[in-house]
């Protein structure tokens, strides 16, 4: 695999302002922000599957949306194929978007209920002025066949409510892939799909990567799935990456206490299996009121006096393994 970088994210930040009530607006000047993504940097190599994993509220989905520029960052830069997408105008961005697509979590919400499958999948072709009418139909049939919706001429005229959740997710993938993108953000693509169908969707994603030469940014909370499909994994906590490394290192030698706790909490499908547990105290703190210093210190089992003052940086412990912890690095 060539080591060409397709995406580089530098010091990406996204703060969402917190709505204030009428009274609060009148009485106080202070503004509060949800630090959804707080200084995140990483890069993705062409052809790999890079996973952002973490619990709900850690900023993984926001990062995914920022990368395809569905929302604008507060600060930071995103280089896609060498172009800084935070600086370009909307016309250039539209052209760039042909190369990057996103698949959303909920296949029930991401398809327009009034649009036939064929129209939904073919719509991007029209938006980008690539194909119309018969040529469009031909391309739609082709891609539907490829994602396993055959006979595709039957599916073209169905509405989303006439097909199952697994099939809907296949439609969402067809719609993302019809423009032949190079880069796809897959935001929890299997979490709402029945267990017996999940593996088929994952296998489809892996097959498509081979055929189309895709690069995936995979966003998930399920580390067992992440382990199965990714090349590299970044673990996020409260808007920051706490550990990043290739799959093998992350699972055999996790260093950050949070990664350890996450891994030990995953249920293993073996009866009576007593696993070594790393228990955490308390709950995830609010992203409005982030703890000083290391943001994990309120739940960490091995805090020292530095943790309260110094915010740990994401530093390499080996060429392919990065950790943000005062104890580990």
């Amino acid at each position: 695999m060539s080591q060409v970088e397709i995406l580089r994210v530098e010091h990406l930040k996204k703060y969402f302002p917190v709505e204030k009530s009428f009274l609060e607006k009148a009485l106080t000047r202070a503004r509060h922000f949800v630090n959804a993504v707080d200084d995140v940097s990483f890069s993705v190599t062409r052809g790999e599957i890079f996973t952002l994993a973490g619990e709900s509220g850690c900023g993984k989905t926001t990062t995914g949306k920022l990368v395809v520029r569905l929302i604008s960052p507060t600060s930071g830069r995103i280089f896609f194929d060498g172009t800084d997408t935070t600086m370009v105008n909307s016309e250039t961005l539209r052209i760039l978007r042909r190369k990057m697509q996103i698949i959303f979590q909920d296949p029930y919400a991401s398809l327009n209920p009034r649009m036939k499958i064929g129209d939904a999948v073919g719509h991007p072709l029209e938006i980008h002025g690539i194909a119309y009418h018969d040529e469009k139909r031909k391309k739609v049939l082709e891609i539907l066949n490829r994602v396993g919706l055959s006979p595709s001429d039957k599916f073209v005229d169905l509405y989303p409510h006439q097909i199952s959740g697994g099939q809907r997710q296949r439609v969402a993938m067809a719609r993302a892939l019809i423009l032949q993108p190079e880069f796809v953000v897959a935001d929890e693509p299997v979490s709402m799909i029945d267990v017996s169908l999940r593996t088929a969707i994952i296998d489809l994603m892996l097959g498509l990567r081979k055929d189309f030469g895709l690069t995936y940014l995979f966003v998930t909370h399920d580390l067992a799935v992440a382990k199965y499909i990714s090349d590299r994994i970044a673990i996020m906590y409260l808007g920051k990456i706490v550990e990043l490394g290739d799959k093998k290192t992350m699972f055999s030698n996790p260093l950050h206490p949070y990664t350890k706790a996450l891994l030990s909490a995953i249920p293993v499908p073996i009866p009576e299996r007593q696993r070594k547990k790393t228990e955490l105290r308390g709950d995830v703190p609010s992203a409005i009121d982030v703890p000083s210093g290391c943001r994990f210190r309120t739940r960490c089992n091995c805090v020292n006096k530095f943790c309260e003052e110094t915010e740990p940086e994401l530093l390499p412990v080996s060429p392919s393994h990065y950790v943000a912890c005062n104890q580990c690095s």
């Binding site: 067992a224 909490a265 249920p267 009866p271």
Partner: protein
């Protein structure tokens, strides 16, 4: 003969809709003893939640229990009057719902929920005594007693589910049905909630029925496992037997399709096709359109549940030499 704590005999539940009758639970039987965990796994639409709800007579309209018995300590529950059933709920059998966000009353403080539950069933208890026991219950599930004065929205998802569990065990029920108790929660919280349920089960000697779509959870947490598919019970056995010696092709397929983080270079195998529409069920075995071992008999003849020995039941034509139950 000693009665089982809870025994379900050939239970059938149907939803009668305008498009036809949906047989959501079809001829399901099982029993559960004190301090035991039974895991019920199935995909959405397999009838696992309907089965759970029918145990406490809460099958939603237009569902109806058409046949079968539910016996609690040998006493038939399905013939009880509404008020009698109401007394059973909470004191004998308790239900923990999937979504902790919507199952608490948003305009009531946490403490008030406990007062309501306790005083509905035991009106002689004073409000202060009820709050006193609420304190103890919250302590059992790991929540500080000051939180009693909070409203549900002030608690996190995991804490709300803890409150639900505390409410469920408030009247010391003998059976707790937990329907996808951790599906809406993160893994770390999930682990804590499941540990808590285990701890309480041992401390109070309750029987726990754990309904989930996640086979990993039931394999790890339950004594017996029941695999449901399209309203039918396909396989029932002790969890070690399900893991080491699965018999039904569906169970085998499920085991091969779930990722296990302890394995290196695991190869997952998908089960082809998708679950059937319950309005047009396949004839014969429900699973044959997706089964790689299907033969003529599977397409034509309905399958009955067979005992293959040592309490391992399977509903599959591949097992001929079993004794019929």
């Amino acid at each position: 003969m000693e009665h089982s704590l809870l025994r379900v005999d050939s239970l059938n539940v149907e939803y009668r809709t305008r498009k036809g009758s949906i047989h959501a639970v079809e001829d399901v039987s099982f029993s559960i003893e004190k301090a035991e965990t039974l895991g019920i796994v199935g995909e959405s639409g397999s009838g696992k939640s309907t089965l759970g709800l029918s145990l406490i007579g809460l099958v939603p309209y237009p569902g109806k229990i058409t046949k079968g018995n539910v016996l609690l300590n040998g006493k038939e529950l399905l013939k009880l009057k509404k008020e009698e059933l109401r007394n059973i709920r909470g004191t004998k059998i308790c239900y923990i719902f999937q979504d902790p966000m919507t199952s608490l009353n948003p305009v009531k403080k946490i403490g008030a929920h406990f007062v309501e539950v306790i005083r509905t069933h035991e009106p002689q208890v004073s409000k202060n005594d009820a709050l006193e026991s609420a304190k103890k219950l919250l302590h059992d599930v790991g929540i500080r007693s000051e939180r009693m004065n909070d409203y549900p929205h002030q608690l996190s998802g995991g804490m709300r589910q803890r409150v639900m569990i505390a409410l469920a065990i408030a009247l010391n029920p003998s059976v707790v049905v937990a329907d996808e108790p951790t599906t809406a929660l993160d893994v770390i919280v999930q682990q804590k909630i499941l540990d808590l349920l285990n701890k309480l089960r041992d401390a109070y000697g309750m029987a726990l029925i754990l309904i989930t779509h996640d086979l990993s959870i039931v394999l790890q947490r339950s004594d017996h496992i029941m695999v449901m598919y399209a309203g039918q019970l396909l396989e029932y056995a002790a969890s070690e037997d399900i893991y080491l010696n699965p018999k039904h092709p569906y169970t085998k397929g499920l085991l091969k399709s779930i990722p296990n983080i302890e394995l290196v270079d695991q190869k997952l195998e998908a089960i082809g096709g998708s679950p059937p529409d319950l309005l047009n069920k396949p004839t014969g075995c429900r699973f044959w359109p997706r089964c790689q071992f299907a033969f003529d008999r599977c397409r034509e003849e309905a399958v009955s549940l067979c005992n293959t020995g040592k309490g391992h039941f399977v509903r599959c034509h591949l097992f001929k030499e079993c004794t019929k139950e």
